[in-house]
Symmetry: C5
Subunit: 358 residues, 5 copies
């Protein structure tokens, strides 16, 4: 709640500003902005952690091969603006990097590429999907990545660069961009799989022992799935964009990887779509289980009533105080009536059994 | 209700008129039509409030840079017609400006541009979304804007022009058009966010304490969302139109801003779509809560009946007046029967507990 | 019912006939076929009512400007065929004019244009939407219109021609065609608005006092809306066809009007779509109101039962005839039991109050 | 059931065969295969019934004008194969003719045309729609048609050829193909109209006196409509294919008829779509009627209980056996209690009347 | 459950690996990898079972005609990698072959073709659809197929090659690829038909004797259908891809077969779509049957209550102990009351009969 309020204030204060004004609109998720850089050629690889704008620019200038600079944390907009200015990045791009509510997209500014997408992760209790924005700027042989907070999604690629595994060291920055995107999308599968398990647990719960709580859970699933679709659908268009890029921004040699990435994206979208269908199927399950429970309750009521109301009526008849009621004087009248009651009781049981209510 | 009736009369009186007849079809929302103008170049900026047609034309003629004339209020169709005639605007455009039921659209009349869209705002109680039509005419370096009433949606841009902030003073009227549209679309976010909060309040209400009133609220949300979709969907097409415009109407230098505007529009549409999905999800919640309440009621009924009907039957048996009922003479008969009743009572409670109805 | 049967017989009798056989398939809605003609140039305008085929052809031949011939009533197929043959109209077109079940369409036969659409009106009680077919044939400077019965939908244009208002007298027959179509589409708005009011009345009824009758009304609305969609959806394609037409059939100067007409058509379609969404939203309202009513009934049942069943049980206990029931001999036993009953009664009331059932 | 089983065995026995193996997969619906031929020019027309392959080939060879050979019954695959081989028809086409589960399609093999579609008819009780496959092969001036059994769908055209009515005798085999297709599609309307009447009967039943049987009927309607859609949707694409065909296979002079046929097809599809919407609307009606009935039942239960439970309680009170119950000794005590009961009775009636439950 | 867990571990361990790393992600379904090869020309045909990489390469080298190598089992990634390397297959393709979660697709790597799709089969109890991935690599005249386990889906083609039936021996490897795909798709029909029968059984069950179990079954059907759609939808695009392929990869002579295959694929998709519609129709059936059952229960309750509550009341009245109750002294009072009760009883029966509740 607090989160949402804060974001709105930012949005309102931004209203009326000229387009391209760089204001960070998210929540500050880290104490400081951590910047790290890796420069590598096929043979060399050096890492450092530049602190100032000058150090970053120095790193870019000195690099002979691919330069990858990564920002963890976006709240220090001044540094980001300065680096972007040095690289001649359009103000609208800087605004998009800082404004964390972007839709995934790929923008071709002819002298550089700008890609934005969401990284997803499950929160501690595994029921809420958290989304963080990751932006990429690819210019010549320099790739700059912007994350909202330090995450482990890039670790695999970083390790491969250090160890010289795979072909990453042999290719240029466009392959690095692809490799990172591939990692982000692969990460989707892990999260979706975990989330899918939660959904299956809920399914089991609904099939076996549904309660009112299940409905709230289901409602949350629907909300989360709606949010997920919003992040995931534009991915398709974005990744398809890579296939249309021209040299020199994105080498033709990497097109086949872009197609592979596209396939993965489609699979992510299909999985989210399946979640959606599953939740609506589960809702039907829940509604039916509620309705079945009601039927159970009604049956018990009807059984109790059907059996005892006629019996009570019989006893009521012989509770009347008429002076002339011959049965009352019979020696075995009472026992005969008890017998009749037993017959009615058994008769009703048989009738209910036949109707399969027992 | 009154409002709707009035509008219809206008529509009917318009029936049969030649196409292009300029008739104002909305409600008059202001006493007078307020006209203001700003003329600016990169260095200069002058404002005034022309009263007559001649003054307006004079303003346009004298201006050396960008001329922006704004109409607040549309009910004085004569002035609007005269200005449009001076600028050689097609009669159908004038009709569209005055007929406030237009769908958002962008029309390229080759010698001028005509853009229409809706501005949205929440009414006093925050539950109804009000829509007002804003029209733009861009011809050469002149931009004319038409609003149904004085609003604050243009204030940010006006201030930036006065103070020379941003690049607005360095560009031509086409950038001004973009900047104003950007403000209108940004305003959508603020309204949608407020509206979204209302929806979340309703969600909380439905999850915690739904009543019949909630349903009426939900129904209103659906209506409003339907109306909103109608205004918001055509925006996409309209804004996409800017990317297809050619020089000199819309400078290529502004295309990148048009793309940014397009992204924002898509986000607005997605938000409205999410609202729609949310309301249908909330309806399910409501229906289920009603159904759960019913279950609660039925359970109580069944519990009461199941417990007391057998007990009543027992007491009925010993209320019979047979002369020969041996139990009646037993010294502790009464207490034994009370004991049996207690056993039945406790037995039923245990049974109901096991079925989880208690 | 009778109507439908009759139409089917026609259809069946038509089965097996060669394509292009002109048979009138509708209901005869007028006693005679009324034919009227208007011939006009920018300066002149003459009207008459030709009775025979020869008179019609004579009118066409003598006319120097635009010739507009209007048929009210289609059951005299011989005259229509003869005129069409004179103008070299394809047999399939003649069949389409007479067969009133056409979908709206625009057909370009290169030497003439054929347009068909539906005119809609509300019947006397305002709950059923009636549809009549209107066909247009535009060849050179001659426009022929075919209506199923005399209506007032063309009156506005006729008046403008007579009085020389607007630009209709300055343009050719293609503009006349546009002006008539514009009138027909404008007429849609009036009908839709009236129909929309009925829908709002129903909404109020459903929110305040729904009965079984409401459901039947709602069901009829759905039927009518389905029928309406069928007539309205193809309009979009048809009107879009005008924008693709070439000189000399449809002058480029009128293209801007075609675009305007297209906008109106989209608005009509959107309105019908909104009706559709509204009816499904109203159905949800109705279902919920029924379900709420049921809850009310169940509550009363449960309240009555919960209160009186325990009380009856108590009285039953003291109605037993055991000889040794000490309480029966107590002096104030009766009054104590009455007191206990009062306590139970009040206790139940408080309990039910707490659960918000009272 | 038997039917379905048989078809499956055929399918399984076909599994693993080379593509293009001609196996008849339908049910044999006729004892023998009836073959008939009509050869005609503008002036002549001769019919015969060839029995052997040689006779058929002879007929084709001798014909000077259009040759139309019709097969009623497909189970004699040898003859069909032989004729097709003579005409140099691709094996896949022969397979398609014999395999009666084809989707409607139009295939252009450049030297011949192959069209498949379904003929629909109602079965005896008018509730099930039966579908039969009709295939057409058009090569040069020869048209061969294949039906599963003798039907009357081609009779109209046959009569027109014999009598020389219409233009069929003046045109080539491509026009004959069109004329036959036109007849098949016209036949759809008749069946759909009959079926639509059944749907309206069901609607009346549901509105007036629904029972459980109605639901089964409705379910069958949905099944039939699903099956119908499957046959009808691909028709659109198929008929649209005719408009794209080139000379000499399909003469340009017949294109205008293809467009007409296309219009009819769209109307068929729309009608099926309306059926679909109607059935789902009827399902809502049914569910509501069930729910309303339930409300009725519950009301009666509640009324009976609400009235008699308090009365029974009162009588229970005075059935207690306390020694000191002063009212019991009052002279008119009994009558006063009866009076109180009457008052309670009337009071409840008034209360229920007010709540509109009576 | 175990299965799913295992797969996830694989996925996680794969995370961070360079793209194109070949890891088998499925379950090992066979003890060993079985490799078989068939080499054939129009006249010759030889089979063997190569064990080592060298033997496979030898087989390819020596072959004069078409070489078909089939892998049953994918867990020995080393062999597969080696063969693919020999044929110069891209690493991403190898990854796709081993990663069994691929969407059906056709990839044209210009020097070879890569096709992936799912084979479906029913498990032992016929309620779960199992999917296995089949990959094809077509390079020059060599076709390599990869299956997860030994199946019978290729047996038909294998037999035809051995026996020289059909045209398979006369064509190249591209026809072999088509023939195998055709078999896989034909296999779909058999499985879908069996599955459709299960669905019809369920339909019968739901119409005649639904229980809670039916709902679980129905829910499973929906799940299976969702999974099936996911495998079947991309097939359309994949098969359509064959029609766009150029020589020499896919001979024009086989295009007509590709079109036939496409038709079959569309039929598969339509069948799955029909299943989907059927399950949602069946859900409605189930919900209604539950609701009807409830109505039945409520009716019995209401009937019992309506009949016996008034009777009990009457008996209660004459069970009161007032001293002055004249009726009690009447000689036939008891019998008269019994008579009155009988009248009420019969009256209620008639009333209920009229309302059709009996």
């Amino acid at each position: 709640m607090l989160h949402r309020k804060k974001q709105k204030q930012k949005l309102k204060s931004k209203l009326g500003m000229p387009p391209g004004t760089p204001v960070f609109t998210g929540q500050q998720k880290m104490a400081t902005v951590d910047i790290s850089s890796i420069c590598y050629t096929e043979t060399d690889c050096s890492e450092n952690t530049p602190k100032t704008i000058e150090e970053i620019i120095e790193t870019i200038k000195k690099s002979k091969g691919v330069t990858w600079i990564n920002f963890d944390g976006l709240h220090d907009s001044a540094v980001i603006e300065a680096v972007c200015e040095y690289l001649d990045i359009h103000k609208l791009t800087v605004e998009d990097i800082l404004n964390v509510g972007q839709r995934p997209k790929l923008e071709d500014y002819s002298h550089y590429l700008h890609a934005v997408l969401k990284e997803i992760s499950l929160d501690a209790d595994g029921e809420t999907i958290e989304q963080e924005q990751i932006s990429f700027i690819l210019k010549d042989n320099v790739l700059i990545t912007f994350q909202e907070r330090t995450g482990d999604v890039f670790d695999g690629v970083r390790k491969r660069i250090r160890e010289g595994k795979g072909i990453v060291r042999k290719r240029k920055a466009d392959y690095l961009l692809y490799a990172l995107l591939d990692n982000v999308v692969d990460h989707y599968f892990v999260v979706l799989e975990n989330y899918g398990e939660k959904l299956e647990d809920l399914e089991t719960e609904l099939l076996e022992n549904p309660d009112e709580n299940s409905l709230t859970k289901l409602h949350n699933f629907r909300r989360e799935t709606l949010g997920l679709r919003r992040s995931v659908y534009p991915l398709r268009e974005m990744v398809a964009g890579f296939e249309k890029l021209d040299e020199p921004l994105f080498s033709h040699i990497n097109k086949v990887f872009a197609r592979d990435l596209y396939d993965h994206t489609i699979k992510v979208i299909e999985t989210v779509e399946i979640f959606r269908d599953m939740t609506s199927s589960l809702l039907d399950l829940y509604i039916n289980s509620v309705s079945n429970k009601m039927n159970e309750v009604m049956k018990v009521l009807t059984i109790m009533t059907s059996i005892f109301i006629p019996l009570s009526f019989i006893s009521g008849v012989y509770g009347m105080n008429f002076q002339n009621m011959p049965e009352l004087g019979y020696k075995y009248g009472y026992f005969i009536v008890l017998g009749v009651m037993a017959v009615v009781f058994v008769g009703m049981l048989i009738y209910l059994k036949r109707r399969r209510w027992l």
